[in-house]
Symmetry: C2
């Protein structure tokens, strides 16, 4: 592009606005959703990390790359997913991940096997998220940390407002509830983790805000992540009689307007980090009594 750039130098200078927009687009792309959620999930060299519910490995590759010195054990209840995750990790050239097919409620590891546990977009699908957390706590070493990331569809905000659009989102929430899950779980990570016996629970919400000054997010998040996810439940929503074809079409059309000119879109993810307490004798920070 060098010579062309030189040739049209005056035009380039003239369209300064374009260049600013392009800069922002590139910044957006590098600061993707994955960065927003995972940039602070870093594990020390030599630590053993359990990724519970790895699915097809979308997060696994990120985790393994960010913490090349840590050893990951990634498990999923579906052998097909584990196979896909393993292939993804091999393609990415990561050598620090071991895979295993395993149920989160019957983990094939001794108590205290891991320094850290990581769970992302898993609890929302479980009928017993509290019991799952207890199972994960059991395989964690005392003093180890648990990281949980979940969404909360109730946090969805968009402009222009539309009840029809909201009804399509409600279909997703209802279907997940029918399957025993909770698409609104993000807001209750704090009591869930406390209730499962974790300490030092710290929740840091990750707020996604998108308007048409951020075209990479409009495309990558609003359209291709969120709206695509809602559209994915259309057959089940229609089959379950939660909505009819016309209302669905109207709702999705309205939702797409939030990704159009002048539209805005917001969503909040909740990330929590918590600690499994050390036994009392080692947790005490009392100085030794004088004389001892």
């Amino acid at each position: 592009m060098g010579p062309k750039r030189n040739k049209s130098r005056r035009a380039d200078d003239y369209v300064h606005g374009y260049s600013e927009r392009e800069d922002r687009r590139l910044r957006d792309q590098s600061q993707t959703l994955a960065d927003l959620l995972h940039h602070d999930s870093l594990y020390p060299t030599g630590s053993r990390v359990l990724e519970a519910g790895c699915g097809v490995g979308a997060q696994t590759v990120l985790l393994a790359r960010h913490s090349p010195g840590a050893q990951f054990m990634s498990v999923d209840v579906s052998p097909v997913s584990v196979q896909a995750a393993e292939a993804a990790v091999r393609r990415a050239g990561c050598m620090n991940v071991t895979f295993r097919t395993a149920d989160i409620f019957q983990l094939p590891f001794p108590r205290g096997s891991f320094d850290h546990v990581f769970v992302c977009f898993v609890l929302e699908h479980l009928q017993e998220p509290a019991r799952a957390l207890q199972c994960l706590r059991a395989v964690l070493k005392p003093g180890g940390t648990l990281t949980v990331i979940e969404g909360d569809h109730g946090s969805t905000l968009f402009h222009p407002r539309s009840d029809a659009a909201w009804r399509t989102i409600q279909c997703l929430i209802d279907l997940q509830a029918e399957a025993g899950g909770d698409a609104l779980i993000g807001r209750r990570l704090f009591p869930l983790l406390r209730g499962a016996g974790f300490r030092e629970v710290t929740v840091s919400p990750r707020f996604v805000y998108v308007d048409d000054s951020r075209p990479a997010w409009v495309e990558g998040f609003t359209r291709n992540t969120y709206i695509a996810m809602v559209e994915g439940v259309r057959p089940r929503a229609l089959a379950a009689g939660l909505i009819d074809r016309r209302d669905w079409a109207k709702g999705i059309g309205d939702l797409k307007a939030s990704a159009g000119a002048g539209g805005t879109f917001c969503y909040t993810f909740f990330k929590a980090v918590a600690v499994k307490n050390r036994p009392k004798w080692s947790a005490s920070r009392r100085p030794a009594p004088a004389g001892e």
Copy 2:
């Protein structure tokens, strides 16, 4: 407290957990909502800033203190509010604020009088927020900035979930709509500002997350700011027949549970900064053609 502290030194050490909680409480208090919203509203020495809709001066004191070298002109349509704001600013010892009773739609200032304009929790109450922005733009110098802060009650998320609690919030939204305002305006600041002719519109949401590990926020925000605000519309909501006494009591009770043990509460403010374009001849960054 020194001697007492020394006397009970062993007890102090033993209750280390208390001291950590106390530290967090103090941190919370210094990092209040005002900080979250206003820490980045700073104006250079010598600049002239219009605060439009100062109310009783809650923000005025913060602005004047943060930018002691800037000259503020704070106006409100209500002479009673202006008087209260003036008293608050005098009590705070700020000397860089002038007050005037004025209507945002009929500002008594020549075009281009100000380097910056600041508007906080005002547009939500106006029937014509777009026209208000145009009036503010007129008194702004070319190249000057406008800062707008608004809430969006649709962003309210809480645990435990409760339809009854949501109905009390809906009363607030409905009453504000009846009065011609929009309690859900935050999400649409971007198109509003663009539509009023502003450029470089940048929206930065301020997400408030509260759980019982942050007692100062539970008290200061969830209870004394948000729930108190909802409770304030009870007489009007009942009088308008939007809800009956029993449902109101149940709803407020449920809302208060979000400020109790294991509860969580979230709310999003939207802050936007935008620029009034310079006239074309000065905005152009084209280098002078060779030979000139």
